[in-house]
């Protein structure tokens, strides 16, 4: 570890917060329907969408109408992706000549991209045609991200309203977030990334005749356009098998910095947007602080583990300062550690190094950051929404201690809010631990593992954690393209996505009808150091303690095995 490494990690994580702040102000304007500088271009497109869809964008929907629209939109998104993937072989723009995908792989991939997970049971350049990558995968990268944002927009209205009725209009939130936020920023970033070396072509690639006289087939795609929204939309599904470790997705330290910042920037923006919309900037700053502290601690841990002595390098008698298996030379330990924390703290799931080859506690930390509920800063909107749930549980715990009815952001927190909060945070442990327990004893599931012993346990736990938390990264030794894994991971992704969304929208429906209270002397302040400490405690106990026994069987025991062979170096 050296100062350069720490500086790179601090810059990468810090810039995302700094840029997220002004973008959050803009995002809040978009949610509130205020004027933006893009109105002259986008207003006509927006109006065309509403007219073609036959919706009244000013109609204030009840929470169940809002949730129904969200679920209907996602259902048809799933069906379109599934159909295109199955029919890939007969559709145009398939210069690769790839056949259609199997039923189970299409099912898994369609759920994966609709839920903003972007788990990939396939290798991009050996499976997907140019058309599939563009038409359905890139499209879902946008609209699944916008779907997450709508939840935060609705929740913000619930906290703002005084005895209100509706939580907003789903179609307006979806279309406006896509047109005014995601599309313009992605376009600019995509062109920038091409300038810095990313390919952008409809060709399938070239055959090179190498200097030693061999033939090398080099796969190409329209990489940059997908890369930009893959990062900004906190999706994470790579064009290529190895994702952002591939030199065509991430060729230089500068593209690495830009794309690593892109992982978190709109997640933070949604935090700040929520704060501005609810007129609770100070309270949201406390949430940002809690999330940033946890995220930096995660990155620091991974940086520390990747500079421990790797057993294989020690046994081979080579330099042991950095664990270089599964890392690219241009990134090394600090850039890989910052990325691993950012991608698992947000629900991104892209990788610039192989997580399966991380040291045990490094891979364990990546899992742990997902266990915390994808709130550091999580997906666009979905992150702040679950963070607010954590804050509600924190004021509830504090209320129990002092015997007062808890309030948060001027709304009384009562039994229904707490029940729905628990429902929202229960999805991750139930689906992750439940499926992992079954897979660990099922021969059909165990066939897919690359490793036996603790690392095999980690492959299972990582897969279900990643799917349920809608992250999408993997311990990629696991061969997941088999009926058992495709089907159960698909179900886990859907549960992890839609159960919390419906619970949070229901909570918004309950909160919106309540009167907005002015803070009194008995109200727990939710912006000071005391509250940040309480919140961090609740997050760690909810996330950490439930998963500790499972982590002990995987990364923790493997860590002690490593120490045993490296004599504690």
């Amino acid at each position: 570890m050296n100062w350069q490494g720490w500086a790179e990690i601090a810059l990468t994580l810090g810039l995302a917060v700094a840029i997220g702040w002004p973008l959050g102000v803009y995002m809040s304007r978009v949610w509130n329907g205020e004027r933006t500088w893009l109105d002259p271009v986008m207003r006509p497109v927006e109006r065309f969408f509403y007219a073609a869809c036959g919706v009244d964008a000013k109609k204030n929907q009840t929470w169940w109408s809002y949730a129904g629209a969200l679920l209907a939109f996602n259902l048809f998104g799933f069906l379109f992706v599934y159909a295109v993937l199955r029919l890939q072989g007969v559709l145009p723009l398939n210069p690769q000549g790839f056949p259609g995908l199997s039923e189970h792989l299409s099912f898994n991939t369609a759920i994966s991209f609709v839920t903003n997970t972007n788990w990939q049971s396939y290798g991009g350049e050996t499976t997907m045609s140019t058309l599939s990558q563009m038409l359905v995968l890139t499209t879902q990268n946008f609209v699944s991200a916008a779907t997450g944002a709508t939840v935060a927009a609705a929740l913000a209205r619930a906290f703002t309203a005084n005895r209100g009725e509706g939580v907003g209009n789903f179609w307006a939130d979806l279309v406006r977030t896509t047109l005014y936020v995601l599309l313009p920023i992605s376009f600019v970033v995509a062109v920038l990334l091409v300038a810095l070396g990313l390919p952008q072509t409809l060709s399938a690639g070239v055959i090179a005749h190498t200097m030693e006289g061999a033939e090398q087939k080099i796969s190409l795609y329209a990489v940059a356009s997908q890369e930009a929204i893959k990062m900004l939309g906190i999706n994470g599904g790579g064009v290529f098998n190895v994702n952002s470790a591939h030199p065509f997705e991430n060729p230089t330290p500068l593209t690495n910095l830009i794309t690593a910042i892109s992982i978190n920037v709109l997640g933070w923006a949604a935090f700040f947007a929520f704060g501005r919309s609810v007129l609770a900037k100070k309270d949201v700053r406390a949430l940002v602080l809690a999330a940033a502290v946890l995220l930096f601690a995660g990155a620091a841990t991974i940086y520390a583990t990747e500079t421990m002595t790797p057993p294989a390098q020690q046994a081979a008698g080579v330099e042991t300062a950095v664990n270089m298996e599964g890392k690219e030379v241009r990134f090394g330990a600090p850039a890989t550690a910052a990325w691993a924390a950012a991608t698992t703290g947000a629900s991104n799931g892209s990788v610039n190094g192989m997580h399966s080859s991380l040291m045990p506690l490094g891979g364990g930390m990546a899992m742990f950051l997902m266990h915390l509920g994808e709130i550091l800063p999580g997906g666009i909107g979905s992150g702040i929404a679950v963070m607010v749930v954590m804050a509600i549980l924190s004021v509830f715990v504090a209320g129990l201690m002092v015997g007062r009815t808890p309030e948060y952001l001027g709304k009384k927190i009562e039994a229904r809010e707490v029940q729905l909060s628990i429902l929202a945070v229960l999805a991750i442990p139930v689906a992750t631990l439940g499926f992992s327990a079954i897979a660990a004893v099922l021969p059909e599931a165990l066939k897919g593992l690359m490793h036996s012993g603790p690392h095999g346990m980690s492959e299972i736990l990582y897969a279900y954690t990643s799917a349920t938390a809608n992250n999408g990264s993997a311990f990629a030794g696991l061969t997941a393209n088999a009926p058992w894994w495709d089907a159960t991971l698909g179900v886990a992704m859907a549960l992890g996505r839609f159960l919390p969304i419906v619970a949070i929208l229901a909570m918004a429906g309950s909160l919106v009808a309540k009167p907005k209270l002015a803070p009194s002397a008995g109200t727990l302040p939710t912006h000071g150091g005391l509250f940040v400490g309480l919140l961090v405690g609740v997050i760690l106990i909810l996330g950490g303690l439930q998963f500790f026994p499972a982590l002990a069987l995987g990364p923790i025991v493997e860590h002690f095995q490593v120490l045993a062979v490296t004599d504690g170096h």
Binding site: C53, W171, T178, L183, P199, A214, V318, E325
Partner: protein
């Protein structure tokens, strides 16, 4: 619920047109017009115009007069249509055996010099175009001997192609293997 059907279907189709076709095609148009070299894969051509590789993608150099890339787990090695890491965990027996075997071979080639980690570990992509400066310098004596030139001159070529971290702390120093090997061939032309 039925009232949601039309907007769900129509908006899905419109989004596919705008985000799945118009957006990537517009980026492709701008990219091909403004940055054709990058947009087509940063391809490297020889004097006759034949594509010999991409400056961003490793290729499998094995001859002694060339700098060698890092070990690769992509396909059967350096397969730029099937990127992959080894995905082996830190205690994987095959990983430990592989690194031991590779290190033993390097030790014969350049005895008494510390072996850089990146020389025996597979990269994340299997297509890492770079080696560390230490790895490049480690190989310099072999390259110099095979070409019958002083080691100092090979080191000078390596130094000239060493990229420093951005602003001194963003990324790691790296040496592009293909660029060095092209420079070596240009500087020390083969007989005949």
């Amino acid at each position: 619920m039925l009232s949601h059907l039309r907007p769900a279907i129509v908006s899905s189709v419109l989004f596919m047109g705008l985000l799945g076709l118009a957006y990537p095609l517009a980026v492709t148009g701008v990219a091909q017009a403004a940055f054709p070299a990058q947009a087509n894969g940063s391809l490297v051509k020889d004097a006759k115009g034949t594509v010999i590789g991409s400056s961003l993608i490793a290729q499998g150099f094995a001859k002694p007069e060339y700098l060698h890339p890092r070990p690769s787990a992509a396909g059967n090695g350096y397969d730029a249509s099937a990127s992959s890491g080894s995905n082996m965990g830190p205690l994987n027996d095959k990983l430990i055996e592989r690194e031991k075997t590779d290190a033993a071979a390097l030790r014969v080639e350049n005895p008494g010099v510390a072996i850089p980690a990146d020389a025996v570990t597979t990269s994340a992509s299997g297509l890492d175009p770079d080696v560390s400066p230490a790895n490049a310098r480690f190989q310099a004596p072999r390259v110099a001997k095979a070409r019958g030139v002083p080691v100092g001159e090979v080191l000078a070529v390596i130094d000239a192609h060493t990229k420093a971290p951005l602003l001194g702390f963003i990324g790691q120093p790296a040496v592009n293997v293909l660029a060095v090997n092209r420079a070596l061939d240009a500087r020390f032309p083969k007989d005949g």
